[in-house]
């Protein structure tokens, strides 16, 4: 029974992490309909920025996390303004080729600068070890992830549903032409959203170094996971990807625990089945745009 709870707990932590990593992609891919396979590269950037700050410059871990966000968001903003925005209206093939090119470049560049081996971020002592909670071992680090990611998710939901910016974004996504007719600066909204999504990915990358492992091949290894979150979750709201990440996280952890020999086989099969059954995702809208 306790193992079940531990698995559930680890799965939730993993899923929350995946959500923070992928929710930027949920907007670009799900809402703006741009196939950005390079999303993981931004996450990797955040992870490496955090690692360099903590390990080499001796920054405290919690001070480095916001900087990981800022660094990835800045790079995201620059790339969006200079490159991505030219490709919004292009075919999916072009978008795939472009973002795959970016992935290759980022992998080789990070390999060149930081070396190809896996990198660990020095954690503060307060985050190591476990808390015993009614006999269930709960990792402190994972608990922190759940807290941070939970707060972020709630904040995101609030921003999207309640604020002026949220309604602008929803309008811009639903119908860019009508939105710009109403005086909404659509490219600006998109650029800001894109940069914010990249920032979140960077934060997720910094947080995930401990759990997922951080090496130059991060964007390639986890690309499929991000894509699963978005395509399975659908694009109608932020809840869809959130539930999909939790499912994926728990499923992956449980699968690795109970049927370790099958490896990622289970996840891929489930993804294909769901996509065949509901091409717009489990929680998607009836009609794809």
């Amino acid at each position: 029974m306790t193992t079940l709870f531990t698995i559930l707990f680890d799965g939730v932590a993993y899923g929350m992490l995946l959500f923070v990593l992928a929710c930027g992609l949920a907007v670009t891919l799900g809402l703006m309909n741009f196939v950005n396979l390079a999303h993981g590269a931004f996450a990797m950037t955040g992870g490496y920025v955090c690692a360099v700050l903590v390990n080499r410059s001796g920054w405290p871990f919690f001070a480095a996390l916001p900087l990981a966000f800022v660094a990835s968001a800045l790079i995201g903003a620059v790339l969006e303004r200079s490159l991505y925005r030219h490709l919004y209206s292009r075919s999916h093939l072009d978008q795939v080729l472009f973002s795959v090119g970016l992935v290759f470049m980022s992998v080789a560049a990070v390999d060149y600068i930081m070396g190809s081996s896996r990198i660990f971020i020095k954690l503060p002592a307060a985050l190591e070890g476990q808390i015993d909670f009614f006999g269930v071992g709960i990792g402190r680090y994972r608990l922190m992830i759940i807290v941070i990611c939970g707060l972020l998710t709630a904040a995101l939901q609030l921003v999207l549903a309640r604020t002026r910016f949220g309604s602008r974004l929803r309008a811009a996504v639903d119908d860019p032409r009508a939105a710009s007719g109403l005086g909404i600066n659509v490219p600006q909204v998109f650029a800001f959203t894109f940069a914010f999504g990249c920032g979140l990915a960077g934060l997720g990358g910094a947080l995930s170094a401990e759990i997922l492992g951080l090496d130059p091949y991060f964007p390639l290894k986890f690309m499929i996971y991000f894509l699963i979150v978005v395509t399975v979750g659908g694009s109608s709201s932020i809840t869809g990807p959130f539930l999909a990440s939790l499912l994926l996280g728990i499923g992956d952890v449980a699968g690795k625990y109970y049927v370790p020999k099958l490896g990622p086989f289970v996840i891929y099969t489930i993804m294909i089945v769901i996509l065949i059954w509901r091409p717009n995702g489990l929680f998607g809208r009836a009609a794809a745009r």
Binding site: L93, G101, I224, L262, G263, P279, A288
Partner: protein, 343 residues
């Protein structure tokens, strides 16, 4: 140009062999005698060309974007490897066809998954299938050798006559012959009414269905055929390198393949062949400059190609040859810019 009879006339006109095509194949054959010390890389190019030809069939002619075409390459590679390793079918040519057929079966079964859904779902499903097969190959390591791959494959002589030599001379001619045979078949198919209907589907599936083309059945057919081609390419890989490892399924292989086709241009069959030559040369150059980081430059090439625009780039590349031809022959340009593959 408006009359219906013109359509048939133009289609037949396009289907005729042009002298430049004959020159292309003569050039390819003459490479074998011009560069006798480079058989290994030339074999590599020919294999890649066949693989790219396979992607061209579905991407260039049917408009299916696949992110996991390496799946069939891998199935072919492992089939050929297992057949040779266990001595089930010792003769390479028969084994090649059988390996191709195994990939065809996989392609046929998965085609039902692929034709459903829109672009994005297709991308995900094709990628998922390749990853799934990779996971399977890793899981059944007692059959596939796991991460070490299949080792100790020994190839029998082709048709019992030509033994593979260490310089790769036989391997090269073998691959080139297979490529040429399959190219002839592909050429025949894409110029047939079947091929024309595929192009109609690529340009507008809805209208194609409206004039009575069975869209799904055509897509299944071409997808299955393309998987046969990819399987053969994979089998050639195993037979000429005596090696099959997990990376035959890798995402990088599928991504590189797209680059190959994009360099050459999709939708006129020669794109994959030309792209393979250019890609391998680029790879050679890049890996001599920065041995470990050549992927960076490959990525840069991809980004630049997309930003410049594929159509525009091909126009630039073809400007000089077309100019010469117009001057010399006073006729229309030979190498047409491939039609737009945007839906």
């Amino acid at each position: 140009m408006t009359a219906q009879a013109d359509v048939g006339y133009h289609a037949r006109q396009h289907a005729r062999w042009h002298w430049s095509e004959i020159a292309f194949w003569l050039l390819a054959l003459s490479c074998a005698f011009l560069f006798p010390s480079r058989y290994l890389i030339m074999t590599d190019i020919v294999r890649l060309a066949l693989f790219a030809l396979s992607l061209d069939l579905i991407l260039g002619y049917a408009g299916i974007v696949s992110l996991g075409h390496a799946a069939f390459f891998g199935v072919g590679a492992y089939s050929a490897g297992l057949l040779a390793l266990h001595g089930i079918i010792a003769e390479p040519v028969v084994a090649l066809v059988v390996a191709g057929l195994v990939a065809t079966v996989v392609g046929f079964l998965t085609s039902f998954l692929v034709i459903r859904g829109v672009d994005l779902t297709r991308l995900m499903v094709t990628l998922g299938i390749a990853l799934l097969l990779e996971a399977l190959a890793e899981r059944f390591s007692n059959i596939t050798g796991g991460t070490d791959g299949l080792q100790g494959i020994e190839m029998q002589p082709i048709l019992g006559l030509f033994a593979f030599d260490m310089f790769g001379k036989v391997g090269f001619f073998y691959c080139l012959a297979v490529l040429f045979a399959l190219f002839l078949l592909a050429r025949r198919i894409v110029h047939s009414p079947f091929g024309l209907s595929l192009r109609a589907i690529r340009n507008n599936p809805l209208r194609a269905a409206a004039i009575g083309i069975p869209v799904n059945r055509r897509l299944i057919a071409i997808y299955t055929l393309a998987s046969f081609y990819a399987g053969i390419a994979g089998a050639l890989f195993t037979q000429t390198t005596a090696l099959a490892s997990l990376d035959v399924f890798s995402f990088e292989r599928s991504a590189d393949l797209m680059l190959v086709l994009v360099i050459g241009g999709a939708g006129y069959l020669y794109g994959g062949l030309i792209g393979a030559v250019v890609f391998k040369m680029l790879q050679e150059v890049f890996s001599t400059i920065t041995p470990q980081y050549w992927q960076f430059w490959i990525g840069l090439v991809l980004v630049v190609i997309v930003l410049v625009g594929r159509q525009r780039m091909h126009r630039w590349a073809l400007w000089a040859p077309n100019l010469i031809i117009r001057q010399l022959g006073g006729r229309k340009t030979i190498v047409a810019v491939p039609e737009s593959d945007a839906p």
